[in-house]
Amino acid sequence: MKESAKKVKAILAKYPDSGRDALIPILQDIQDELGYLPTSAIMQVGAHLALPSSKIYGVATFYNQFRFQPKGRNHITICRGTACHVKGSGKLLENAVATLKIKPGQTSRDKLFSLETVACMGACGLAPVITVNDEFNAKASPAKLNRLARCCKDEITQERENS
């Protein structure tokens, strides 16, 4: 059995004899563990809850939280709340898409970056906000974002040279 399948099995074991209302918590646990929802995991969940995969995809694709691609090494989220918008998060996003060459929800081919937008992080007082690997960066700007991206890239090049 593959490593990820074992992890999913362990999660499912926490929900014995569960009905459909356990579906979303299970998917959340799996995503917490694996970073995304692979097809194989969906099949396992289906077998456990006696639900067709189509129904599970129906639920999973409905909610913004679920991802179907693995996260990149640097996961960047950009807040698109109103306060952030008024303070220029739209420009931040355009800039990120142009610089990283990926769209929200995608992971770059070299798996270094993934990009996501969220509706509102609730840190409106510090707008615009971005997070890099869950670390908050308040009052972000295109220049700051570019600097962060460059730092991440440099770090990785350095590592490659060292190894």
Partner: protein, 604 residues
């Protein structure tokens, strides 16, 4: 000897500004100086003054330090805690007078508020039930279970409390419906799916005073005859989820939650359900579908949840802030509550004041205060002394209220009259640099992507409106677009299934109502008066000011700027993505927003 208390704000705002690092440093420093026996560091919930975070309050004088960095900690410990000399440079600076203020009660931002719901937020340790109980916590519940159920409902009715989630439905009436529904099993659900971008009061209440919400739910459970409750909270609020779980555990240990509470025979259990990021789940029927593990799509009402909700059972659903108001009503009596506010809107309301305003943060004021008071007296006015253009109230369902209506009292009915709505209480101040067409486009983009797709007026209508607004922002609008938007907007409002669709056109309709001239400028003159619409501007380097320092060349992510050192740089408009990074880094103000280059050539 009692330890002296040092309060550190650990709301999400301050945590994002680095509160944990400050705490770490503070503990280290106290330890180093052997002071851990004398002082206790308490991480509280949100103080509301997010702009100035991380915040630190030192008792007994409640000296407030703002924007504390880990590097400042040493000075605070040496000077204030040991030397008893305050560190004035970290006091709050009044933006108008420039005066440094030590006592937070004297700062306008706090002084002009009236805090009922936020009473405990930022004062108590939210992870300690003892502190909540010390401040009168669970007294309301104790009183409620000694009363007749009908009397509890009557008290809430008399208090005039209306739903704080947006629509403002009378809470007592809702409880009455659920009470009268005939069923053995009933549920209480707390709606903590605070999806409105720009609103974070529910998060702050959950993070800062979770027991108040539990107490409100318990009172409701007793009144309507329910024994089980769910709190549906956004997964994007991990800290709130964590503190709620701790609160539930503590309440169970202390016997406030569980079986036979206060020996009254009343039993109640609460579980937390994490949402998965769908705005429409703030709608009650969609929220219930989501708890049951389905796609969060609304269903037609009736039947209302009060008669048929979770698993077909009567369900009473209220918002976080609504529940948090309940303990006060029971504890202090409905008469006292009803004395606050206006005729039709009782009590206080919390607003998340953000955008282009000096003091951003959480503001709780009695209903009926004017927008002017909130923005100028509490908010300290518009940032950088720019012109106040409008305030966007109520998120994607709300609308914009312009400068001319700044003296509108904030209550449910006056806001609806002005074309906005209370919504959950997001209040975003916009100045003359914000384009109202772009703002409408932004909201339509939001509701369009969050529309669940069940009913065509919302699914198709919002998309068509968005396409039209995008065209206008791109300078390709046509003369009859404005009337078309009004027409389609009114249809969507009339024919949509749920609250999302019924209010989705509001941001566009109110901006047309009050800022029609801006729409016309985009359509007729192909200009954006605020200079915000990307297609209608270009970044231009002013040759007279550019010294050729190369900063912008470095900052440009797409290498669109070129030029030798010490010669005027130029922008290649085929490459430029208009991100504005060049303008931001330029120290000489040599990069400005101007009319598009292409247009200028045409004109020439």
């Amino acid at each position: 000897m009692a330890k002296r208390r040092i309060l550190l704000c650990a709301g999400s705002g301050c945590v994002s500004s680095g509160a944990w690092k400050v705490k770490e440093e503070l503990l280290r420093k106290l330890d180093e100086r052997g002071l851990t026996e004398k002082f206790e560091v308490v991480a509280s919930g949100c103080h509301g003054f997010c702009e100035q975070g991380p915040l630190l309050i030192i008792y007994p004088k409640e000296t407030l330090y703002c924007r504390v960095e880990p590097d400042d900690v040493s000075e605070i410990v040496e000077e204030h805690l040991i030397g008893d000399r305050v560190v004035e440079r970290l006091f709050y600076k009044d933006p108008e007078t420039g005066e440094r203020i030590a006592d937070h009660a004297k700062i306008n931002f706090y002084a002009k508020q009236e805090r009922i719901v936020l009473k405990n937020c930022g004062v108590i340790d939210p992870e300690s039930i003892a502190e909540y109980v010390d401040r009168g916590g669970y007294d309301g519940l104790r009183k409620a279970v000694s009363m007749d159920r009908v009397a509890v409902i009557e008290a809430v009715k008399q208090s005039g409390l209306r739903g704080r989630g947006g629509a403002g439905f009378p809470t007592g009436l809702k409880w009455d419906f659920t009470y009268k529904a005939d069923s053995e099993k009933k549920y209480i659900v707390c709606n903590a799916d605070e999806g409105d971008p720009g609103a974070f009061m529910d998060r702050s209440v959950l993070e800062g005073d979770p027991h108040a919400v539990l107490e409100g739910m318990l009172v409701a459970g007793y009144a309507v005859g329910a024994d089980e409750g769910y709190i549906y909270v956004r997964a994007e609020y991990p800290l709130a989820v964590k503190r709620l779980r701790i609160a539930i555990e503590q309440a169970e240990e202390q016997g406030y939650l569980g079986s036979d509470i206060f020996d009254s025979g009343f039993s109640f259990h609460v579980s937390v359900k994490e949402g998965a990021g769908a705005f429409v789940c703030g709608e009650e029927t969609a929220l219930l579908a989501s708890i049951m593990g389905k796609r969060g799509m609304p269903s037609p009402r009736p039947p209302f949840p009060a008669t048929s909700g979770l698993w077909g059972k009567p369900t009473c659903l209220n918002n976080v802030e609504t529940f948090a108001n309940v303990p006060f009503i029971l504890r202090e009596g409905w008469e006292k509550y009803a004395a606050i506010g206006t005729e039709g809107s009782k009590g206080t309301k919390i607003f998340a004041l953000t955008g282009k305003v000096n003091n951003t943060g959480l503001v709780e004021v009695p209903m009926g205060n004017t927008i002017r008071k909130v923005v100028y007296e509490i908010g300290g006015g518009v940032k950088d002394d720019r012109e106040f253009k409008a305030v966007q109230i109520g998120g994607p369902s709300g609308g914009c209220i312009p400068n001319s209506l700044i003296d509108t009292p904030i209550d449910y009915d006056s806001l609806v009259e002005a074309g906005a709505m209370m919504g959950s209480g997001g209040m975003v101040v916009v100045d003359d640099e914000t384009c109202m067409v772009d703002l409408a486009r932004y909201f339509l983009e939001f509701v369009q992507s969050e529309s669940c797709g069940k009913c065509p007026p919302c699914r198709v209508g919002t998309r068509k409106m968005l396409e039209c607004l995008k065209r206008i922002c791109d300078g390709e609008g046509e003369a009859d677009d404005i009337d078309w938007l009004i027409n389609v907007g009114e249809s969507i409002k009339s024919y949509s299934l749920c609250g999302l669709g019924q209010t989705a056109p509001n941001p566009a309709l109110t901006t047309i109502r009050y800022f029609r001239d801006e729409y016309e400028a985009h359509i007729k003159d192909r200009t954006c008066p605020a200079g915000a619409c990307q297609a209608l501007i270009d970044y231009v380097i002013v040759a007279e000011k550019c010294k050729g320092c190369g900063l912008c060349i470095k900052a440009c992510p797409v290498e669109a700027i070129s030029g030798e050192k010490k010669t005027v740089h130029t922008i290649d408009y085929d490459l430029c993505i208009k991100c504005g990074a060049c303008m931001e880094v330029c120290k000489l103000d040599a990069v400005i927003r101007g009319k598009p280059a292409a247009q200028k050539e045409e004109a020439a």
